[in-house]
Symmetry: C2
DNA sequence: AAAAAATATCCGAAATTTCGGACAAAAATC
DNA sequence: GATTTTTGTCCGAAATTTCGGATATTTTTT
């Protein structure tokens, strides 16, 4: 579970207070005091979320938001607005902020909101991982000549059978429904060595 | 994108008002006035989220929440609490509610919150779909004898090549790196007919 | 409608794969 | 440490697969 929260807040006191609140809730605050400082952490593979103040001396929370969206549209950005600044808050959501919080904000609301954002982030990253897994499988299964493709698959099947049988060739052969000798033939052809699949805990070559 | 919101609210006026707000935001409200009525919609494959009042004549929002969790722990439930009832709200989150809203609630906050819940739901369902996809592939790839497994795979490879070549056997054979006649041999063995892969738009048997 | 190209099937020789048996070496059991 | 089992390798005959050539049929082009 990702727990990182990249805090962007120029007011040192508030920043520290937020960080402390998060730590008490087992989150991992990363404190920065400006967009410039935070910039390099904002990447598409960042395993966490962003919490940024809106009004800051050199940049606004919207700058952070826009930048984050160029790096990864699915990176949640939570913005801290001034008290009762509803129009700004609405604009923030419209522009793609994950949520907003009114300053000063209740610690519980803060952590609840961030937790939701973190879960969102987790789900997105996990989804991407699954998708990539499927894509690469698809891709690598469909390259090369028929013989090559079949050989790759055969190798996988045999390796799997050997693994399941803990490296015992006879047993693997039986599970694959072929005579022991035939499996040896194929293993030689595929440059497979039974030893490698023996002893799940410790084996040296 | 799932857009269904199962509303559980005994106050008809408020319920209608919420439903209208949601419709204006392109969400799909499903109006119910009691837990009993909503109960059968709450299932692990429900493509939406739940929005329930906490105080109701016969049941509470917590009943809804607990029930939802037994059906699907990842089905977001948003609870409507009375004005400034912070303790109850906190308890709701602790017990697994996705979020809570204070009555009367701002329409924007309502839709924002529900949208987040819906995205969450979407991601969870998508994740499950991916996982299942991977599992079934794994399972069906590892059953039967070696010959059977290889034959299944060979069939897939050839079918794919034929599809890519729009049913032209010679072309498919070339892409697979084998002579045309050999491909015919294998197709006969696997009971494959080239015609089936011709004419991406319309073909009758 | 004729000509050209592609599809689909059959044949048979050459190449490859299968598989049982034999056997030495290694490992496990007694 | 002797015995039994298992492993890994080699051999050769039988079975299967490959693949080019021949050819009839269908489709496409001209």
């Amino acid at each position: 579970m990702t727990q990182k929260v990249l805090i962007i807040e120029d007011d040192a006191a508030l920043r520290a207070s937020i960080a402390q609140t998060l730590e008490l809730e087992d989150l991992e605050p990363i404190q920065t005091c400006s967009f410039t400082q935070a910039r390099r952490s904002i990447r598409s593979n960042f395993k966490g979320v962003v919490l940024s103040d809106i009004k800051m001396p050199d940049h606004t929370g919207f700058d952070v938001l826009r930048f984050a969206q160029t790096r990864d549209p699915d990176l949640p950005v939570v913005l801290l607005t001034g008290f009762s600044d509803v129009p700004t808050a609405m604009r923030a959501i419209k522009e793609g902020a994950y949520d907003y919080l009114e300053k000063p904000c209740d610690p519980d609301r803060l952590t609840d909101t961030l937790r939701r954002a973190l879960v969102h982030r987790d789900l997105v990253l996990q989804n991407r991982a699954y998708q990539q897994e499927l894509d690469t499988r698809q891709a690598e299964a469909q390259s090369g000549t028929l013989a090559e493709q079949l050989e790759r698959h055969e190798k996988q099947i045999i390796e799997n059978a050997l693994f399941e049988a803990n490296g015992k060739v006879s047993q693997a052969a039986e599970s694959l429904g072929i005579p022991r000798n035939t499996l040896y033939d194929r293993m030689t052809r595929l440059c497979l060595v039974a030893k490698s699949y023996r002893g799940a805990d410790q084996q040296e070559d």
